[in-house]
C-alpha cells in the first residue's frame, strides 16, 4: 500500500493579489501619507473652486497686496483681511482662489501628460518586447530619444509652435495640447525600456506557451496575458511620470514659455512672485510648496508602490 499524502486544506481562502498589495502599501507610512496628500490636493483643486467661489481673475484694486491672515500674529501693522486668508496679489486677486485655479491647470497637465507618456511607452515597450523583428529598430529609436537634450528642446518647441496652436485651439487649449504632447513625446523612454524588459522575460514563461498552444491570437495574447502582468512596472513609472510632468510644466511656466499670462498655474504664480519676494515671500511660498509637496507625495507613493508590487518584498 502506498502512502497517499493528503494535502492539508488551506485554512483561509487564497487572497487576491491586489488585496495583498493594498495591505503591503498600508504598511508603508510614506506611501500612505503621500497618497493621502495627493488625493487631498487633487480633490482640493477639483472641488475647491465650488466651495471657495471667489473668481481668481477678479481684480480688486482696493484690497491689493494683502498679507496672509497669520501675519497679523507677529506683525500687527500688516494689511490682512479675513475674506482673503492667503492674501492677495498686486492686482488684488485672491491668493487661495488663484492657488486652486493654478493647481487645476498643473494637475490637469500632469495627469494628462502622464497618461500620454504611459500610453506611448507601453505600446512601444510591448511591441518591442513581443515582436522580435521590431525590437532592434524600436530600441535604437529609444536610445536616440534618450540622447536628445530634453529641456532645451522643450523650450524650443513650445516657443516656436505657440502661435499656430493658439490660433487654432484658443490660447489656453492650444497651450495645453502643446505642453502635454511635448512632455508625452519626450518622456516615454524609461517606461518603454522597463516594459520591454518585462515583456521579454514574460514571453519565455510557460503560461504564454500554454496560451499559444491553445491557439490564442496575438492580440488576445497581449491583451489578456502580457499586459496584466506588466501592470506593476507601469504603475511605478506612472508615479514617476506624474512627478516629472508636474515639474516640467512648472519649469516651462517659470521660464515664461508656458500658459498665457492671465491663466494661473503654479509655476507661473511662482515666476510672477519672484520679483517681489522680498516684501511678499508668501507668494513664492504657496505655489512652491504646492508643487514640492505634490511631487514629494507622488514620489513617496511611487516608492511604496514599488515595494508593494514587488512579490519578493511583499509578505515579509
Amino acid at each position: 500500500m502506498t502512502d497517499i499524502s493528503i494535502e492539508p486544506l488551506p485554512a483561509k481562502p487564497p487572497r487576491n493579489k491586489w488585496l495583498d498589495i493594498w495591505t503591503q502599501l498600508g504598511k508603508h507610512k510614506g506611501a500612505m501619507l503621500g497618497g493621502g496628500f495627493l488625493l487631498f490636493i487633487t480633490l482640493g483643486v477639483l472641488f475647491g473652486p465650488y466651495i471657495w467661489t471667489i473668481d481668481p481673475q477678479k481684480i480688486d484694486i482696493r484690497n491689493r497686496d494683502l498679507r496672509p491672515i497669520f501675519t497679523a500674529l507677529f506683525d500687527s501693522d500688516a494689511k490682512v483681511r479675513w475674506a482673503n486668508p492667503l492674501g492677495t496679489d498686486q492686482l488684488g486677486r485672491d491668493g487661495l482662489a488663484n492657488l486652486m485655479a493654478g493647481g487645476r491647470a498643473s494637475m490637469a497637465v500632469g495627469w494628462t501628460a502622464m497618461l500620454l507618456t504611459l500610453g506611448i511607452g507601453t505600446i512601444i515597450g510591448v511591441v518591442a518586447g513581443y515582436f522580435k523583428r521590431l525590437d532592434g529598430p524600436l530600441m535604437r529609436l529609444t536610445d536616440l530619444f534618450l540622447s536628445l537634450p530634453i529641456l532645451p528642446l522643450l523650450l524650443v518647441a513650445v516657443t516656436l509652435f505657440r502661435e499656430p496652436l493658439r490660433a487654432s485651439f484658443g490660447p489656453e487649449g492650444g497651450m495645453f495640447i502643446l505642453i502635454v504632447s511635448i512632455i508625452g513625446i519626450t518622456s516615454w523612454m524609461p517606461t518603454a525600456r522597463i516594459v520591454r524588459g518585462d515583456v521579454l522575460a514574460l514571453k519565455e514563461r510557460e503560461f504564454v506557451l500554454a496560451a499559444r498552444s491553445i491557439g490564442t491570437t496575438q492580440t488576445n495574447m497581449i491583451k489578456r496575458h502580457i499586459l496584466p502582468n506588466v501592470l506593476s512596472p507601469i504603475m511605478v513609472s506612472a508615479t514617476l511620470g506624474l512627478a516629472t510632468a508636474i515639474i516640467t510644466e512648472s519649469a516651462l511656466s517659470f521660464l515664461g514659455v508656458g500658459f498665457p499670462s492671465d491663466f494661473p498655474t503654479w509655476g507661473k504664480m511662482l515666476a510672477d512672485a519672484v520679483d517681489r519676494m522680498e516684501n511678499f515671500p508668501e507668494r513664492v511660498l504657496w505655489p512652491g510648496l504646492a508643487i514640492s509637496l505634490t511631487v514629494l507625495s507622488v514620489n513617496y507613493l511611487g516608492d511604496g508602490l514599488r515595494d508593494a508590487l514587488d512579490p519578493r518584498i511583499r509578505g515579509r
Binding site: 536616440l144 540622447s147 537634450p149 532645451p152 523650450l155 524650443v156 502661435e163 521660464l255 519676494m277 514629494l296
Partner: protein, 335 residues
C-alpha cells in the same frame, strides 16, 4: 577594449547626425519668421533680399548641409586658427547669429566659462557630499542617519530648482544678507578680497544645483554599497582579519564605485540642461540663459547651435560612461 571604443565612437556619428537633423527640422517646421520684427514700411522685395542675406533662400537640404559643414568643419578650423595662428578658416562663412550679427560660436565661447564654473563646482560639491552619505547610510542601513538621508534625498528629488533658488535668495540674501542674490559675471578675481566675493556669490547657485546632484548620487551610492556589502568576498575579507575600515573603504568602496562613476558621467549633461533654470534664477549669463534670450529674440541659428551643443554633450558623456564602465569592470568589455 580599443575595438569596443572605436565601435562606440562610430555609433555616435549617426546618433549625432540624427539629432542634428531632428533639431534642424524642428526649427524648420516652426512658423516663426525672422522678418517679423522688420517695420511694415519696408517693401516686400527688400524683405525678400534680407531673407536671402540671412541664408534663407536655398532649399532645405542645402541649408542643412551648410549648417553641418559650418558646425563640424569650419568651426574647428577657427579653433585651430585661434590657437596656432594659422589661417585655415579665413574668408569662410561661419554660423552667424541673427541677433548680434557676430559668429554664434564666439558668443558661446564667451558664455561657457560661467556655466562651467557654476555647474562644475556644483557637481563636484554634490558628489563630495553624496558619496560619504551614501557609504554611511548603506553601512548603517535603516538607522536614523539612513532614514534622514532617504528623506533629504526625497526632498532633493522633489523640490524643483526654481523653488529652492528663490527660497534660498529670500533666506540668505534678503533676510540674512550673507550672500548676494545675483551672480556678477563681470567680477574679476585678482586678490583675496575679490576671491572672497566670488566665493560668496557662488554659494547660492552651487547649493541649489548641488542639492539635486547629492540627492541622486547618494541614492545610487547607497544601493551600490548595499549590493556589495552582502557579497562573499566581504565575508572573506573580514575572515582574513582585515580591519573594518579597510574592508568597507577599500574592498567594498572600490567595487561599489563602478556603477556610481558611470552614473556621475551620465548625469553631467543633465546638469547642464537643468542649469538653465538656475542660471535664470541667479542671473548667471551662461549658455542656458543665452538659449532663453535667443529663443525670445527668435535667433534661430543661435538656438539651433546651442541645442545641438547640449546634444553633443549628452552623446559625449554617454560615450565616456560606456568606455569608463569597460575600463573599470573588465567583465563588461564586449570584445
Amino acid at each position: 577594449m580599443l575595438t569596443f571604443t572605436i565601435r562606440r565612437l562610430v555609433l555616435a556619428v549617426p546618433t549625432l547626425l540624427f539629432i542634428s537633423l531632428a533639431i534642424f527640422l524642428l526649427l524648420e517646421l516652426a512658423p516663426g519668421d525672422p522678418m517679423a520684427q522688420v517695420p511694415l514700411t519696408v517693401p516686400p522685395e527688400v524683405k525678400e533680399k534680407m531673407r536671402l542675406a540671412l541664408g534663407l533662400g536655398e532649399p532645405l537640404h542645402v541649408r542643412y548641409w551648410k549648417w553641418i559643414v559650418q558646425f563640424f568643419w569650419i568651426e574647428p578650423q577657427v579653433l585651430i586658427d585661434h590657437y596656432f595662428g594659422t589661417t585655415f578658416a579665413e574668408g569662410k562663412l561661419r554660423v552667424i547669429s541673427w541677433q548680434t550679427r557676430s559668429p554664434v560660436m564666439d558668443i558661446v565661447v564667451q558664455r561657457i566659462p560661467q556655466t562651467i564654473w557654476v555647474v562644475g563646482t556644483a557637481y563636484i560639491v554634490g558628489i563630495l557630499i553624496a558619496i560619504p552619505i551614501g557609504i554611511y547610510s548603506a553601512y548603517k542601513q535603516y538607522s536614523m542617519f539612513d532614514q534622514a538621508g532617504t528623506f533629504v534625498s526625497m526632498i532633493g528629488f522633489s523640490i524643483p530648482p526654481f523653488f529652492t533658488g528663490p527660497l534660498l535668495i529670500v533666506i540668505f540674501a534678503v533676510h540674512l544678507g550673507w550672500f548676494p542674490s545675483v551672480y556678477d559675471t563681470t567680477h574679476v578675481v585678482n586678490d583675496w578680497e575679490s576671491f572672497k566675493l566670488q566665493f560668496r556669490q557662488m554659494i547660492l547657485p552651487v547649493m541649489v544645483l548641488a542639492l539635486q546632484t547629492t540627492a541622486q548620487i547618494s541614492r545610487y551610492m547607497r544601493a551600490s554599497m548595499l549590493d556589495n556589502l552582502n557579497q562573499d568576498y566581504v565575508r572573506t575579507a573580514r575572515a582574513k582579519g582585515l580591519s573594518e575600515f579597510v574592508v568597507v573603504m577599500v574592498h567594498v568602496l572600490r567595487n561599489s564605485m563602478i556603477p556610481v562613476i558611470t552614473v556621475i558621467a551620465l548625469g553631467m549633461p543633465a546638469i547642464f540642461g537643468g542649469a538653465i533654470i538656475t542660471e535664470v534664477v541667479f542671473k548667471v549669463n551662461g549658455i542656458g540663459q543665452l538659449l532663453i534670450t535667443a529663443l525670445f529674440a527668435n535667433d534661430l541659428p543661435m538656438v539651433q547651435t546651442l541645442t545641438f551643443i547640449f546634444a553633443v554633450l549628452i552623446v559625449l558623456f554617454n560615450l565616456i560612461a560606456d568606455i569608463l564602465y569597460g575600463v573599470l569592470d573588465p567583465r563588461i568589455r564586449y570584445d
